[in-house]
């Protein structure tokens, strides 16, 4: 038998190329005659453009062209609305304004592109930027999301009567009645601020128009090449078949490399068609802080009502959501916050209302966690506060409110981001909590370690929180699996890959079905020339949706192989087994044909194809889940605070997660650990700081602090497996899980470590400075 591959820790297929510097990233594309593009970006957060004069730029050595909005003619169009609001939510208003290729009449955030310069080198293009004259008439910046809704706030999109983009109410049960009979209601205001995705590779686009063939090739750091291909073809008026978008190796995505139709993504192909030369734009780190989308300012006013035993009677939440200057991504993020807030708990009554607000800040779209992080923060913090009021242990209040294992599927009676009802497919939360508590030594820590450390003058605290994450949403992905006469298996899917190990996990899925070794499977992702139906890698859906499509295609090929082998070996299909790269008759090892032989036989030139059958051992299949699968988990942490310096050291971190059936445990663990690091960044290091004029004050890696190796702990992981019933492989997504509950966990552990009366952590991220202030304020209130 072939060694089982699915579910095992095989080394990644893509690693040798990456380790030796041979993997192709977008900036590695070199084409003959390639020109380089740099963008002049707005220094102002909100201003009317009076005049843009690029004539000076054209005089600069090496400059080939310079463009403003006026040069774009008909091509100047606002970008598409990528996600429309769920039509299934009744109480919903929504209006959208999407980003434009180059600002024409006004700029709505710092960094919005105003002009593009094309030169023989990036150095020269940047020289020319200094020679562009822009006359603006500043309008007031809109930064604070509460002030943005005031009648006197400057209006960002003048076609609307206010800066409110949306107002949504979702309800379940009767919260007021629940509150009326509650023994305890806790109410607080919570704030979750903006952070950046900050993949190590910035964005980039190379576009090459071949006029003779009428073909456009675009290398793009996108998580979703197929939608980009389709959109570009439409905008440029060329057939989809004549546009090839390649997302080669991508140096991390974490959300914002989604099918945004960023200005640069739209302009580079157009410029290449104008000039007839290949053009390249590589975002630099400074511009990435404006030109790439961000997340997640939300301000929640929330309350939790409980009975005397700590059972949840209802939750009420009203929040403001910062959409940034444009809202092409619709309502995905606030709806995620709204839905994820409910967590693994039985919440009989829920009233949730939000307003999405335009501000003069960079655009907001999903970043790892995608709105779920603030939702979890609000609920978990409310439970902590309630437990404290009730004198109840933090794990006990959660235990009492978990949905029991027989509650699934559980309908929360509100609508999720995929427009379908929020139904949890599966889960078993108590074992996760108990496992995590045991792994971190929760009881012993509280009973023995903490008092001892406290006596030594050390401030060490523990936290434990739970969350649920909707993953693996539709609509669909596809895959084509084919066997070559050499016996090699090719797999092509449409999703892009940004480090998730798809080259390996998809190969594992296919190799398992076809009985071949991993090195015999070649996976191609992210090239519309190879596969051109699908959506993209986001929302923790790659493995779930594309993985199941690979599985479905492999199953079809397996059937073809078995059918042909049975025919060729004079056997019945039931007797054929696939192993070691061959199809053979069970019990008769001599009666076997290699997959390569069978692929050769399936080739019509050799006469083995009868009328009505298809040539080749090849199949394409698609998978579209009815609805997403629900991953969940419990995180626990021990941290130490130095109350004198306000520096924090995370000493232990435990994750028990349920992402259904696991394809490759090492890869999943890598996703979780990486997510935790991103989450810790969002607790104590990473915060995008805007001043009241809409200027980002930390637009570099000197001041926007990604956690380093000395800032993150080792993460101990374990898992509980409840397979998703919504896909054949039983998989759930894992890409975002690590980052989602970290803020809630950090806050709880911090309070536990400090135990300063009145010190409540109701905001994320913190910093040493902010923690110093919180401690000082709490002490002065004593």
């Amino acid at each position: 038998m072939t060694t089982r591959l699915f579910g095992t820790d095989c080394p990644r297929r893509e690693d040798p190329r990456l380790l030796t510097g041979q993997a192709l990233f977008v900036d590695d594309v070199h084409l003959e005659g390639m020109l380089h593009v740099a963008f002049l970006r707005s220094d102002y957060a909100h201003a009317r453009l009076v005049n843009v004069d690029v004539s000076g730029a054209l005089e600069v050595d090496g400059v080939v062209a310079a463009y403003t909005a006026a040069d774009l003619g008909e091509y100047w169009q606002p970008g598409p609305l990528l996600v429309s609001p769920p039509p299934t939510i009744e109480k919903l208003t929504f209006r959208h304004a999407t980003q434009v290729p180059l600002a024409r009449d006004k700029v709505c955030h710092v960094g919005e592109p105003i002009a593009a310069v094309v030169a023989h080198s990036r150095y020269q293009a940047e020289d020319a930027l200094a020679r562009i004259r822009v006359d603006v008439e500043p309008l007031g910046a809109v930064v604070d999301i509460e002030a943005a809704l005031q009648p006197d706030a400057p209006l960002i999109h003048e076609q609307f009567d206010s800066n409110q983009a949306s107002h949504v109410i979702q309800e379940k049960g009767d919260y007021d009645a629940a509150c009326a009979r509650a023994a305890l209601t806790v109410q607080r205001r919570f704030r979750f601020d903006r952070g950046a995705s900050a993949p190590m590779e910035n964005r980039g686009v190379v576009a090459s128009w071949d006029a003779k063939c009428g073909e456009l090739t675009v290398w793009d750091t996108t998580q979703a090449p197929i939608p980009i291909r389709n959109g570009l073809a439409h905008m440029l008026g060329i057939p989809e078949s004549q546009v090839r978008v390649i997302a080669p190796f991508i140096g991390g995505g974490f959300g914002p490399k989604i099918m945004m139709f960023y200005p640069e993504e739209v302009l580079l192909p157009w410029i290449s068609m104008q000039l007839g030369w290949p053009v390249k734009w590589i975002e630099d780190r400074h511009e990435s802080f404006f030109a790439t989308t961000q997340e997640r300012l939300q301000i929640h006013d929330a309350e939790l009502s409980l009975d005397a035993e700590g059972r949840i009677l209802g939750v009420k939440d009203s929040f403001l959501y910062d959409a940034g200057a444009y809202n092409p991504y619709g309502l995905t993020l606030p709806i995620n916050a709204q839905c994820t807030l409910l967590g693994p708990y039985d919440v009989p009554a829920y009233y949730s209302e939000f307003r999405a607000v335009f501000t003069t800040k960079p655009i907001v779209t999903p970043v790892r966690g995608a709105g779920r992080n603030p939702g979890v923060f609000v609920m978990e913090r409310l439970l902590d506060l309630a437990a404290r009021e009730l004198g109840m242990d933090r794990t006990e209040i959660r235990r009492r409110n978990f949905l029991p294992p027989d509650a699934f599927p559980h309908d929360h009676e509100i609508i999720y981001q995929d427009f379908a009802p929020l139904v949890y497919d599966s889960g078993n939360y108590l074992p996760s909590l108990e496992k995590a508590a045991k792994m971190i030594g929760y009881d012993r820590f509280l009973a023995e370690d903490q008092p001892r450390l406290r006596a030594e003058g050390r401030h060490v605290g523990i936290g434990i929180v739970a969350y649920v994450e909707g993953t693996g949403i539709g609509p669909y992905e596809g895959a084509r699996v084919s066997i070559e006469p050499s016996g090699r298996v090719n797999v092509a899917t449409g999703v892009g890959t940004q480090g998730q190990g798809h080259f390996t996990s998809f190969a594992q899925i296919v190799a398992e079905q076809l009985g071949v070794e991993l090195p015999d499977v070649e996976v191609i992702t992210g090239d519309t020339g190879k596969f051109h139906w699908g959506t993209g890698t986001f929302a923790s859906r790659g493995a779930v949706v594309a993985g199941n499509a690979c599985h479905a295609a492999a199953v079809k090929v397996r059937e073809k192989v078995i059918e042909l082998a049975a025919r060729s070996l004079d056997s019945s299909e039931q007797e054929i087994e696939l192993a070691e790269g061959s199809a053979r008759v069970k019990g008769s090892p001599d009666r076997a044909l290699t997959l390569g032989d069978l692929a050769t036989r399936a080739n019509p030139l050799r006469g083995a194809v009868t009328p009505g059958t298809e040539p080749g051992l090849e199949a394409t299949a698609y998978f579209g889940p009815e609805r997403g699968s629900t991953a969940n988990g419990v995180h626990a942490m021990i941290l130490e605070v130095d109350p004198e310096t306000a520096m924090v050291d995370v000493q232990r971190y435990v994750v028990v997660h349920d992402c259904g059936v696991v394809i490759n445990p090492t890869i999943v663990r890598g996703q979780i650990v990486g997510g935790v690091a991103h989450g810790i960044g969002g607790c104590f290091y990473e915060q995008l700081v805007f001043d009241s004029g809409g200027q980002l004050l930390n637009a570099s890696f000197m001041d926007y602090l990604l956690p380093t190796a000395t800032d993150v702990p080792n993460v101990e992981t374990d898992h509980v497996e409840t397979p998703s019933p919504y896909n054949p492989l039983g998989i759930k997504g894992a890409g975002e899980a690590g980052a989602i509950p970290t803020g809630a966990l950090f806050a709880q552990a911090l309070e536990d470590a400090l135990q300063i009366p009145g010190l409540e952590v109701l905001e994320m991220p913190l910093s040493p400075n902010r923690l110093f202030e919180l401690m000082r304020d709490a002490r002065s209130d004593e």
Binding site: Y123, E126, A130, D284, A646, Y685, T710, S767, N769
Partner: protein, 291 residues
């Protein structure tokens, strides 16, 4: 983020470098390790017309023991100084401090003289030079002169170096007998700019009483600052938790630190108090051979 064009000059001797400085005047910038200048140029916040690269100048790098102290040539890489046994023996506070500067990749390129001449208020070496009462050797057209560290740092990114002068190196004097030293720093992450740092050198006399205490602070003002107030409660006294605490409090009262997005003035003042106390405690422990 690509630098603007410049003329590149690469002198082989100090005299050639001085001649180039004279020729190009204010348009020229000296390039030492470049670990502060080149990022500024990449952001196009600095566009010097001429860059005079000191990396090929003979005799500007080198470490040499001198009368129990140590001479470090201006173009000595920070990493070389960090690895130097001579530095460790003669100027242990310098050796203790160097690893706090950024990361090894930066220190492999960054120079001791570059850091001193750049005089960033958040950088470590200027404060250490003050704490140890180092002196700096400067050369101009008219010859060489020694400048005590206390006169070298004149303000924000400002030094006593004239526009046509070059820093040749720094001499740290021998550490006195019965001395203790310590460097403490708080930064957001390992290797980041200090939110506050403190370098101390203390000496003990008979009966364990403190003879002298020099407390130099960084990232609390325009440049490195010696807190004379901190010495008051200590000199002539036994270094107890009480006197050290008073000294730390005096240091905190003595400064008026700036605010930025990472640290408010109040938080910096708190860090001055805590780090001064910790550094003094360690330093006095060293005088008594407890560390």
């Amino acid at each position: 983020m690509k630098p603007a064009p410049f003329l590149y000059r690469c002198p082989g001797t100090v005299d050639e470098a001085l001649a180039l400085l004279e020729e190009h005047g204010y348009d020229a910038k000296l390039l030492a390790g470049g670990q502060s200048l080149i990022p500024t140029m990449n952001f196009r916040l600095s566009e010097p017309a001429v860059l005079i690269d000191l990396n090929r100048v003979d005799d500007l790098a080198g470490i040499e023991g001198r009368d129990g102290g140590v001479w470090i040539g201006a173009m000595t890489r920070q990493r070389s100084a960090e690895r130097s046994e001579t530095v460790r023996q003669a100027a242990p506070l310098v050796a203790e401090t160097l690893p706090w500067i950024a990361h090894p990749q930066i220190r492999n390129r960054g120079t001791v003289g570059g850091s001193l001449a750049h005089a960033d208020p958040a950088s470590e070496l200027p404060a250490v030079a003050l704490a140890l009462e180092a002196r700096l050797l400067v050369r101009g057209k008219s010859g060489e002169r020694w400048v005590p560290a206390s006169e070298f740092f004149t303000g924000l990114f400002a030094t006593a170096l004239g526009p046509e002068e070059i820093l040749l190196g720094v001499e740290f004097p021998a550490v006195p007998a019965a001395a203790g030293w310590a460097f403490e720093e708080v930064s957001r992450r390992h290797g980041d700019y200090a939110l506050v740092g403190v370098a101390v050198l203390v000496t003990s006399g008979s009966g364990g009483r403190c003879d002298s205490a020099r407390v130099a602070l960084l990232s609390v003002g325009d440049g490195p600052v010696v807190s004379t107030a901190a010495a008051g409660p200590l000199v002539g006294q036994e270094p107890t938790a009480g006197t050290i605490g008073e000294a730390a409090a005096a240091a905190a009262r003595d400064v008026d630190p700036p605010s930025d997005i990472h640290a408010s003035s109040d938080y910096r003042r708190q860090l001055v108090r805590v780090l001064t106390r910790r550094a003094l405690t360690r330093a006095f422990n060293r005088t008594q051979g407890r560390e």
